[in-house]
């Protein structure tokens, strides 16, 4: 597993729009889960796509892979296919972002880069709160695919690397802080909390923190 960057989380100011009734998920999530749009049925032919992005790892419970076909003249996404290993909301979220990126003739790469988890969650009619952090990683996979396209066509100045993200806005802890803590030897949630105070007064961020810790442990210590 060659991760180059940590898993993305939704912006921390997302609100819980859990409108579910008897089922865990909204009707839109259900629809996209049972009838996923645009997933890649057959392995791609050479030249079928010109940008590929992957994100997550099955060990963390989610992995998304995105294939895009970009029109070099307009820089619009004319085809978007994907595969996802993950729970119901992860599958539905990837399906939804494929719709968002290709509807109305397709978004330009610049527009597509601005798609954020909150937009995907809104379009899905909300997700249960605990699913925010783990299941909407598809925007990150898409941005990796966009970077991959620019790399292939040699527009290196257009490759954008991800900046820091605020994980816990109460304690002001970013993913970089967590990365630093793990590199300095913190191996468990408790040890990372000792160093960063992440999630001390905000337990809702803990699943995201656990995932980051595992990610960085894998990255730096292969464990």
């Amino acid at each position: 597993m060659n991760h180059t960057s940590p898993p993305i989380q939704p912006t921390p100011d997302v609100t819980n729009q859990d409108k579910t009734k008897s089922w865990f998920y909204s009707d839109i999530v259900k629809d996209h889960f049972f009838e996923p749009r645009n997933f890649l049925k057959k392995d791609p032919e050479p030249g079928q796509f010109n940008g590929i992005g992957t994100y997550g790892s099955p060990a963390c419970g989610d992995e998304m892979r995105v294939w895009i076909k970009v029109d070099p003249k307009t820089e619009k996404i004319i085809d978007f296919k994907w595969r996802t290993f993950g729970c119901g909301s992860a599958i539905a979220a990837t399906s939804m972002i494929s719709v968002i990126a290709t509807e109305n003739g397709g978004k330009t790469l610049e527009e597509a880069r601005k798609i954020r988890p909150q937009e995907v969650i809104d379009r899905l009619g909300g997700l249960p709160a605990r699913k925010f952090h783990c299941s909407v990683l598809c925007d990150k996979a898409l941005r990796n695919a966009i970077n991959d396209y620019y790399r292939r066509v040699g527009f290196f100045d257009k490759i954008v690397s991800e900046g820091n993200r605020m994980i816990d806005k109460i304690m002001k802890v970013t993913d970089e802080d967590i990365e630093k803590a793990v590199r300095e030897g913190a191996k468990t949630l408790e040890e990372v909390q000792e160093k960063t105070k992440v999630g001390v007064n905000n337990s809702s961020v803990l699943p995201a923190v656990e995932e980051l810790i595992r990610f960085y442990k894998e990255k730096y210590f292969n464990s």
Binding site: F39, P58, G61, M64, I91, L206, P207, E210, E211
Partner: protein, 403 residues
Amino acid sequence: MNHIYLDHAAATPLNPQVFEAMRYFFDGKEFYGNPSSFHTPGKEAKDVIEKSRKNIAEILNCRPDEIIFTSGGTESDNLAILGVARALKDKGNHLITSTIEHHAVLEPMIFLEKKEGYKLTRISVTEDGIIDPEEVLKAIEPDTIFVSIMMANNEIGTIQPIAEIGNLIQKYRLENHSEFPLFHTDACQASGFLDLDISKLHVDLLTFNGSKIYGPKGIGVLYIKRGIKLQPLLFGGGQEKGIRAGTEFVAGIVGLAKALELVQKEKVKENERLIILRDYFITEILKRIPKTRLNGDKTKRLPNNVHISFLDIEGEALLLYLDAEGIYVSTGSACTSTSLEPSHVILALGLPREVAHGSLRFSLGKGTTKEDIDTVLEVLPGVVKKLRSISPVRVEEKYWNRG
């Protein structure tokens, strides 16, 4: 749509005979007195409790005063662990358990370790999910006061050698002229299938509850061998010999006693039926669906437990696809809990996280028929195939089914 419920390890439907036995204590017509009251209705309620206690004691082959009623399995486990450890604080501070215990055992143990200065040893299991009794013995130190090992695992259904472990602990106590360590077992998953005779199990404390044996939810038992002191968790009116204060759940107690009686009476025949069904189900899944793996020992497992890893897909997605077909199963997968961690039990078998994430538990019950299993076997391959076609993951071959 025909519903197929295969989650009996989580909860069983109430047996109508049990409901019938409980009815009089629910309908408010006659038996509503507080068992602690000194008048006739109170005495009647008290008598009913004592009769139930006696019936349970007969099945456990113990004395009635060794049976304490609680609110369920979690409370019984907590009472056993916190109660004994705290009462024996001046005798020693080392506790032993296993890596595959239920959270109702692990969490109080970890609490004692983190907050109250106890030392905790967690015994590993074999790759088939079985605890080696010798490993337990080896872990015992002079200051070990308490050992808790489950009778059967709630996720993978493996049956642990409780009698052997109990025997070794008794021998250790004799040879070392010590009263300790005490030995507790959580028998919540086992009580519907296995013999609960205390004298054969060599345990000092034993937990079971109503919800796994076609009895009511919200009622449990802690068997405590006479003479063992423990510190209560609840203080109040002195019910249950002061060990568990609070007005008794009379209807629940009656229902639990009835449920245990019925399930123990029918177990030999029912186990035989379920084992045939279970083994058929396992064989057919492994045969019909590639890249599947049975977790837990093939034979040392509960008659109703089928636990399978479906590689390359995630358990919750599979659960929801089956749910849409009216098939109700369970996953120990992270997404159903508040944490993202996959099941600690599957990880304890030495399996990687990507395999743990793709695991499902099917737990059969009294109502499960061969037709049900055949229906599931028809639906399952297509659902797995569809989810695999969506998945980018291809887990390595070495984690496939063991030969």
